[in-house]
């Protein structure tokens, strides 16, 4: 493996890549979004509303348009996120103490951002009623509009920064990828090359050979993960709340477990190309449904069951728990158990499956 | 193309990879209908030369003419006139024998019918049964080689380049191969063969030795051996030492240049007939029999191995001397 410098470099570039991408680039938070407003009313009140909305961090200065079609075009052609239409009778209705509907058009093609922005704007509009209407109506509001507010506190991530969650599980993503693919492929590559037979001729047992193959890659994987964690700390201030040692232990077991998993599956591959296809086949679900990108809380039964069959789920869970919540052995104990079990079973299964194929 | 022009003409062909010179100003020519053998150690540059002549690699300097076409400018046209069998058996393992034939034939724009006809002709010659629906993967290496050779011959090329065709093949298969090669040469094809097996070179019409990118020997096998030995090493046998001495005397007087001889036992004398041109052995035999009918002689030419190893050593000593004198 030391000879395959390109491979090594490729593996070690990943932490850097992820640090940049997930730390800097990716965010779900809506900030300074562009929007348009079609103000049919053109009164003091509507202007006040617009100013109120603009003061949201989520929005920037709006562009004023003069027809509904233009609003729709903004969403459709220029892929804008939202547009607001204030009807001509806005001020009148409010003056009479009636409800004054405003339309918030959201770009459903940008589903999650639209949802968030929609929430913000709705809340701001409702709040406007409480603070900006003339006093007479304000008393009215006290009777009718809900005087309930929610004071929120964010645990584990006070700034509600997207990157906390993402970066804490990125090592899981990265390692899953690396370990699965390499494990699946390297044994098959050796088999193809014929050097595998030479290994078999030695006094080593099949299990020992397999484990021996894994060890150098575990080293590289740990190195890559450390790079990620150090980078997260220095650049984004994400410190591991819990025990670093525990984290490394979990990572170690995970890597062995995943590789054994991969080797087990690779027994069916006849050549490297097949091994790679197989690796990808397992890798996709491993990354998508194991809680790395999306939380696992809402999974339907079947998907949840599937997710529990993948080692990455336990690793991602433990990783997040230790990094952000300071979880200790008690909380991640079950994860460790599962991972170790995975390793043992996969290895046994791998040996069982490979033996007959060797003849 | 007139038949007196060589079918392969190589002039100062050079190939460098960065600072490393793999092929260094090699020049030679090959006649039509010849078996031309290329000998060299691993990394000597012989595969590079073949790949250049096949158009796989561009020369850094120098040029060549293959089948009357210029290597640098007409490489793509050359390809239809040549067949190539590479060192690694490059058949598609996941296809059957038949599919491989149809594939390679198709690349030369041969019609399936024509391909099958060729198959019918060539398979028996190479001792292959008509079992062609087998996956190549399942074949033993000897059979794979033969199939690979046939793929190279499907389009009836004028020249066939064989890069170590008998590597890793057992003795019997090697024999089969070389029989076919000689048959093909007799039919007028030119065969350019590289090999590690020095004894195979005795089958060739001309042999070239390559060492470290340079052509250090180019002649017929006999010529090379003679050059290396310095002449015909002849051993005379007779029970009677006097007869031997008499024979030796006669040989010297008959106009043969004789290098000082040795009498290593009572019954044999070793002479070296250094002569510019090949000795007429049949005449020598008649003449010697005239002296004494029981006089016998053998010609003990050095083996190709001796020649090759010897020439390489000479070459390397010479280049070392050059380096030393340059300092």
């Amino acid at each position: 493996m030391r000879h395959d410098r390109g491979l090594l470099a490729a593996i070690l570039i990943q932490p850097i890549l992820y640090l940049v991408l997930f730390g800097l680039a990716i965010t779900n938070e809506v900030n300074n979004a562009a929007w348009v407003v079609y103000d049919q009313s053109r009164t003091e009140l509507s202007r006040q509303l617009i100013t109120e909305l603009t003061s949201l961090t989520a929005l920037q200065e709006p562009q004023f348009v003069f027809s509904e079609q233009e609003v729709i075009d903004f969403l459709r052609r220029r892929d804008g996120l939202a547009g607001v239409i204030i009807p001509w009778n806005f001020a009148d209705r409010l003056g009479r103490g009636q409800a004054a509907p405003i339309q918030i058009l959201l770009n459903g093609a940008k589903t999650s951002s639209a949802l968030r922005l929609g929430n913000y704007v709705s809340q701001a509009a409702t709040a406007f009623s409480l603070t900006s209407l003339p006093t007479r109506d304000r008393e009215e509001q006290q009777f009718t509009t809900p005087r309930v507010s929610i004071e929120k506190r964010y645990w584990y991530n006070p700034g509600l920064q997207d990157r906390f969650g993402l970066l804490s599980t990125m090592p899981a993503n990265m390692l899953t990828q690396i370990c699965l693919m390499i494990a699946a492929v390297s044994l098959v590559a050796e088999r193809e090359r014929g050097t595998f037979e030479q290994l078999l001729a030695t006094p080593l047992s099949l299990a020992e050979i397999m484990v021996g193959k894994m060890i150098p890659y575990v080293g590289v994987g740990l190195l890559a993960m450390s790079m990620m964690m150090i980078g997260s700390y220095f650049f984004y201030g994400i410190a591991v709340k819990g025990s670093l040692l525990l984290l490394l232990l979990v990572a170690l077991i995970f890597m062995f477990a995943t590789m054994a998993f991969g080797i087990f599956f690779s027994a069916w591959a006849q050549n490297v190309q097949q091994a790679i296809s197989l690796g990808f086949f397992i890798m996709f679900p491993s990354v998508i449904i194991t809680g790395i990108l999306v939380p696992t809380d809402n999974y339907p039964l079947v998907i949840d069951a599937l997710s529990r069959c993948l080692p990455a789920r336990y690793f991602a869970h433990a990783l997040r728990a230790i990094t952000l919540k300071g979880a200790g052995f008690a909380e991640v104990g079950t994860d460790l158990l599962f991972l170790s079990g995975f390793f043992v079973f996969s290895l046994i299964a791998a040996v069982r499956v490979t033996k007959p194929k060797l003849g | 193309m007139p038949s007196d022009t060589p079918i392969i003409l190589v002039e100062n062909l050079t190939r460098r990879f960065g600072t490393f010179t793999a092929v260094d100003r090699v020049s030679f020519q090959v006649e039509r209908g010849e078996i031309f053998g290329f000998l060299g150690a691993n990394g000597s540059g012989k595969s590079t030369i073949i790949r250049m002549l096949c158009g796989l690699l561009a020369p850094t300097e120098g040029n060549a003419r293959v089948a009357g076409l210029d290597l640098r400018t007409q490489a793509d046209r050359i390809r239809s006139h040549i067949g190539y069998m590479s060192q690694k058996v490059s058949l598609y393992a996941n296809l059957t024998v038949r599919e491989n034939l149809l594939f390679f034939g198709g690349l030369y724009s041969l019609q399936p019918q024509g391909i099958l006809t060729r198959q019918g002709l060539l398979f028996p010659r190479l001792g292959l049964s008509s079992q062609d629906r087998v996956l190549v993967r399942a074949l033993p290496i000897g059979l794979k080689q033969r199939v690979a050779l046939i793929c190279a011959l499907l389009h009836d090329p004028e020249i066939v380049f064989l890069d170590e065709p008998t590597a890793g093949v057992d003795v019997i298969n090697r024999r089969v191969f070389w029989e076919l090669i000689r048959e093909l040469a007799a039919e007028g094809k030119t065969l350019f063969v590289t090999t590690h097996y020095l004894d195979e070179m005795d089958y060739a019409h001309h042999v070239g030795f390559i060492d470290r990118g340079k052509l250090i020997g180019f002649d017929s096998p006999l010529g090379l051996k003679l050059a290396f030995a310095g002449g015909y090493p002849v051993r005379l046998y007779h029970d009677d030492p006097h007869v031997l001495a008499q024979a030796e005397q006669w040989v010297r007087s008959a106009g043969y240049t004789v290098v000082p001889s040795r009498q290593d036992s009572g019954t044999a004398t070793q002479l070296l007939l250094a002569d510019g041109s090949p000795v007429r052995l049949d005449r020598l035999r008649r003449d010697l029999h005239a002296i004494d009918p029981t006089l016998d002689f053998t010609v003990e030419l050095p083996s190709m191995e001796d020649v090759f190893a010897g020439m390489i050593n000479q070459h390397r000593d010479k280049s070392k001397a050059h380096e030393l004198s340059a300092e």
Binding site: G6, A10, L17, A25, T27, N28, R76, L81, A99, A100, I102, Q103, L105, N107, G108, R116, N119, A125, T126, S129, L130, E140, Q142, T144, T145, P146, R147, V148, S149, I150, R153, W155, N157, P158, L160, G165, Q177, M181, V185, A189, Q274, I276, S277, F280, F281, F284, I288, P295, N298, V302, I303, K325 | G55, L57, D76, R79, S86, S90, G106, S109
Partner: protein
């Protein structure tokens, strides 16, 4: 030898061989078919923006009729399952074990505040390790509680001759209109993105691998000795995989339609007409990778490396518009980004050719760039 007839013959031979090999390699074929299906299924179910029965821990300090009504109301929405707490200290371990993701704190003086028409402040603790979940939870709870109290208020307000009807309640009433994906369906959102991913994956990875394997096995050299030109070799490789990838795309569209009910709002045929362009781009990428890679593993890692940033910065999972400028610029330089705009445009917005012209033009530009690059490298491969 280079007449058109011969060229076509040779191409036909190359294509024939590739298909025979593909057919023989049942393993890879099955996997190639299964991966798209798997992706669709998983993404459809896994990536949803709403949720149900999320455990919500509640510390009810008031224990009044109103608080119980509030909790009933929350539970009735189906979004949350109420888990009662006895003490605030319970929240920490529960959060740690992820047995609950949010905790609602109802103050003890709830009844008084309501009676005196003072503002009620509810406390909400959110597990913010997943920000999307946190904000969604917060949004839902805010909406639910506000709606609940509006209802309560109304019941308590003495009837005056004003006779307040709901619509006369006054105040700004935001009405949300969602264009292009009215149900805000996660599946509808991810399917077009998925098509792009599948195209990318199948083309880049498989092409890179195949060529490297061929080169390793020595057969590439054997090919180049024949009258075949390097262009023909390239075409002979990419066309079959292009066909396979196209088949996968059609398959996914059908699966999405028939099984998940995701219909394109625009023309499917437009989609099918533009997809080959993107496929060719991906295939050229694969060729470029194969020319640089030393071994199959190397090709693999390189492919993965190129695909990860493309996945992240192409608006596939994470909104490009929200990223900082340098990333947006990089994003624009990725062909996948433009292809996704086209697929989403067709699926969600029902855009037609004239609206998508600029994106299509950009794709064509990319095509020219990539293909010329790839054609140049094939020569060096022997």
């Amino acid at each position: 030898m280079n007449s058109l007839q011969n060229k076509l013959n040779r191409l036909r031979t190359l294509l024939w061989r590739e298909f025979v090999e593909l057919r023989r390699d049942r393993f890879t074929l099955t996997i190639l078919v299964l991966i798209p299906v798997l992706q669709i299924t998983l993404l459809a179910y896994a990536i949803t923006t709403d949720f149900d029965h999320l455990p919500l821990c509640v510390l009810d300090r008031a224990h009044t009729r109103e608080s119980r009504q509030l909790l009933d109301h929350i539970a009735a929405t189906g979004y949350f399952t109420v888990v009662p707490l006895q003490d605030l200290s319970e929240t920490s371990p529960l959060f740690g074990r992820e047995q609950c993701r949010a905790a609602l704190l109802i103050p003890a003086d709830l009844g008084e505040l309501i009676a005196n028409r003072k503002e009620v402040r509810l406390g909400l603790l959110l597990d913010a390790s997943d920000t999307t979940l946190a904000t969604s939870t917060e949004g839902f709870l805010t909406a639910i509680t506000q709606a609940f109290y509006a209802q309560t208020r109304l019941e308590r307000t003495p009837l005056t001759d004003r006779n307040l009807q709901p619509e006369e309640r006054g105040g700004v009433a935001p009405v949300r209109r969602v264009l292009f994906n009215p149900t805000l369906s996660g599946t509808a959102y991810t399917l077009p993105g998925l098509l792009g991913m599948i195209c990318l994956f199948l083309t880049v990875l498989i092409t890179a691998l195949t060529l490297v394997r061929e080169r390793d096995a020595g057969t590439l050299e054997q090919l180049l000795v024949t009258p075949v030109t390097s262009t023909e070799v390239v075409l002979g490789k990419i066309l079959p995989f292009g066909v396979v990838a196209m088949g996968a795309v059609v398959f996914c569209v059908l699966v999405g339609w028939l099984i998940f009910g995701v219909r394109p709002a625009g023309s499917v045929f437009l989609l099918f007409a533009i997809t080959p362009i993107f496929l060719l781009i991906g295939l050229s990428q694969g060729l470029l990778i194969s020319s640089l890679a030393h071994s199959a593993m190397d090709a693999l890692e390189r492919s993965v490396l190129t695909m990860v940033p493309q996945m992240m910065l192409s608006d596939f999972l994470f909104p490009l518009a929200l990223m900082a400028l340098p990333f947006r610029i990089i994003g624009e330089a990725i062909p996948l980004t433009h292809y996704l705009r086209i697929t989403r445009g067709i699926y969600l917005k029902g855009q037609n050719f004239s609206e998508l012209q600029s994106e299509i033009a950009i794709l064509c530009l990319f095509l020219v760039l990539f293909v010329t690059g790839a054609a140049r490298t094939i020569k060096k491969q022997a």
